[in-house]
Amino acid sequence: MTAFVEYLLTGVSRGLVFALLAMGFVLIYRVTRVVNFAQGAFAIFGGFITYSLLKAGVPHGLSELLAVAASALIGLVFGIIAIGGEIPLLASLVITIGLSILSEAIVMLIWGTTPISYSGLAGHDFVIFGAFIQRQYLIVIIASLVVFIALVYGFGRTYFGKAMSACASNPYAARLSGINVKKMGLIAFTLGGALGGLAGVLITPLSPITYSADISLAITGFAAAIVGGLISPGLAVVGGLVFGIAEQFVAGYWSPSNETAVALALLIVLLLWQARRVPVGGLE
């Protein structure tokens, strides 16, 4: 029972991090139709920038916020490079692959190849049903829930959010009613950058990251987003949780070395299931 609770809680918090990445995929895909391969790179930047700020003596909280803001800015720059001007979709996708390896090169140049980590906010570990839970896990859960609620509110209630949804469901009608679709695409990239950056900021204290961790983060985030057919934010969160929990249970009850293989096999199964169901990427 103790082990079960521990795996479940760590799984949920890691799953929420994947869900943040998945939300980035969904947001950018809905508005621009680009599957942003560089989504994992935002997380790497978020983690490494927080690490440097903390090392430079910037207090907790501020470091994390600055790192998320920097990731948002990187998201905007990536957006301009990938979708600025007239450019076909296939080219945009391949450009995001280029941006992903460019990020790896930059991170390696600045921070080197050694894995980094930092301690989360100080505080006592919690004991739930006899299981020791690091405080960082609860912080992850709370922070991501706050972000999800803010996103749901932002998209459902504000003019801006509605404009963004309009771009997603019918770009031409949106353009006709005076919405600048290109600008919305860039905003989506900026928000995607912030979401990815937050994911990195939250996960680095739990498991050290390296310059090349972006690919595995991106593919898990993508897998979670696929659960919702790349367009449903709610199902993407469910997908993130499924992956996070499955990963922890496989690692805990079976073997940690099977973790990646199982996650990827799960992705393939999901893709098969989606292929039978609805066309991925079509809006309802």
């Binding site: 996708l93 450009i95 790896e104």
Partner: protein, 359 residues
């Protein structure tokens, strides 16, 4: 420029290229022969990937895995008593069969699910090979792979492999060229422009896409098979994710969907990567410098080409050659025109790349 002169120039270029190809193995040093063989192997892989990107409009990030599967098939079979020639023939067959099985579901998905699906295949490949140590030699790999023998002909020196590889290069480029000009090729081209339009005129979109994907994997498989006999040992380190990305870069640099582009892209990027490695390696230089340099330069090349020369070097060259002439319709220009068609169409017509609500 008249089309006759043009044709004569093309013939001249092909003959000149052929002669240079034949003469080079005699002139090169053994290090350079290795690079020469590598260029040939990558050209084969890139020719397949270029067909996939230019015609099915899909990106595969698993070509290095297919290359690896071809290598492991050939290595394992020849170490278990099969004749190396049989093992070499089996390499593309096994790879193509696997791609066929993966392709059936993945190609039914819209959007760019194939990119991530094949990336997953690549990562699974890299995770499984070290685990299945009894067959694959784990992360250490397999060595003492027998050298290739075709009948009485022993292929052992670097020069022999250079000739073998380039025979296969010519064969694959010939197949690729014929496909771009055949009925399925025209169908695929129509498909890249508009899936619904193509299927309305009787193009069996799904089947063509699947064939395209399977063929691209077979190309990677045969290249991998030759590679393992040439090198003589094999380990999972030889097939990193970044190699798959390199293949995509080679396609883009040469020109998506162009046959000559495969050769140009593979040669250019292979040479650039050699130059970067020698630039970045030195006693006083940090160990990660070659990786930083190559990743950075690849990324910049990829982004600049896509932003400035979307039809690649071959496309740009063709356009330069045909300046002032009516819009080109020759198949080897297809990459460029397909990309342009897409950019023009994606505001008004539902197709594979624009993914408007319902097709």
């Amino acid at each position: 420029m008249s089309s006759r002169l043009n044709r004569r120039m093309t013939t001249f270029a092909v003959v000149a290229a052929g002669l240079i190809t034949l003469a080079l193995p005699l002139l090169l040093s053994s290090t350079n022969i290795e690079i020469y063989v590598t260029i040939g192997l990558y050209t084969i892989v890139v020719a397949g990937l270029s067909l996939l990107m230019g015609f099915a409009g899909q990106v595969s990030l698993g070509q290095a895995a297919f290359y690896g599967i071809g290598s492991y098939t050939a290595a394992i079979m020849s170490l278990h008593g099969w004749s190396p020639l049989v093992a070499l023939v089996a390499a593309p067959i096994a790879t193509a069969f696997l791609a066929f099985l993966i392709g059936i579901p993945l190609l039914r998905l819209k959007g760019h699910a194939l990119a991530f699906g094949t990336l997953a295949v690549q990562l699974i490949f890299l995770a499984v090979i070290p685990q299945a140590a009894s067959w694959t030699g784990g992360s250490i790999g397999l060595s003492a792979i027998p050298s290739l023998r075709i009948g009485p002909l022993a292929i052992s020196s670097g020069r022999d492999y250079a000739y073998l590889v380039w025979v296969v290069v010519v064969a694959t480029l010939f197949i690729a060229r014929n496909i771009t000009r055949s009925r399925p090729g025209r169908g695929l081209r129509a498909m890249a422009a508009s899936v619904s339009g193509a299927s309305a005129t009787g193009v069996e979109v799904e089947r063509y896409k699947l064939k395209d994907f399977t063929l691209s994997a077979a190309f990677a498989g045969i290249a991998g098979g030759i590679y393992v006999f040439f090198i003589g040992y094999i380990s999972p380190d030889a097939f990193p994710v970044v190699l798959s990305i390199e293949f995509v870069i080679m396609v883009v640099v040469g020109g998506i969907g162009t046959v000559a582009g495969a050769l140009v892209g593979a040669a250019l990027i292979t040479v650039i990567s050699q130059v970067l490695i020698s630039l970045g390696t030195g006693p006083s230089l940090p160990a990660q410098l070659p990786t930083v340099l190559s990743l950075g330069v690849y990324a910049v090349i990829l982004i600049l080409i896509l932003r400035l020369l979307p039809s690649g070097l071959v496309g740009a060259f063709n356009r330069l050659l045909k300046k002032g002439q009516p819009a080109p319709t020759v198949p080897h220009f297809v990459g460029g025109s397909v990309l342009e068609v897409r950019s023009a169409k994606d505001t008004e017509e539902p197709n594979e790349l624009t993914l408007v609500d319902e097709v």
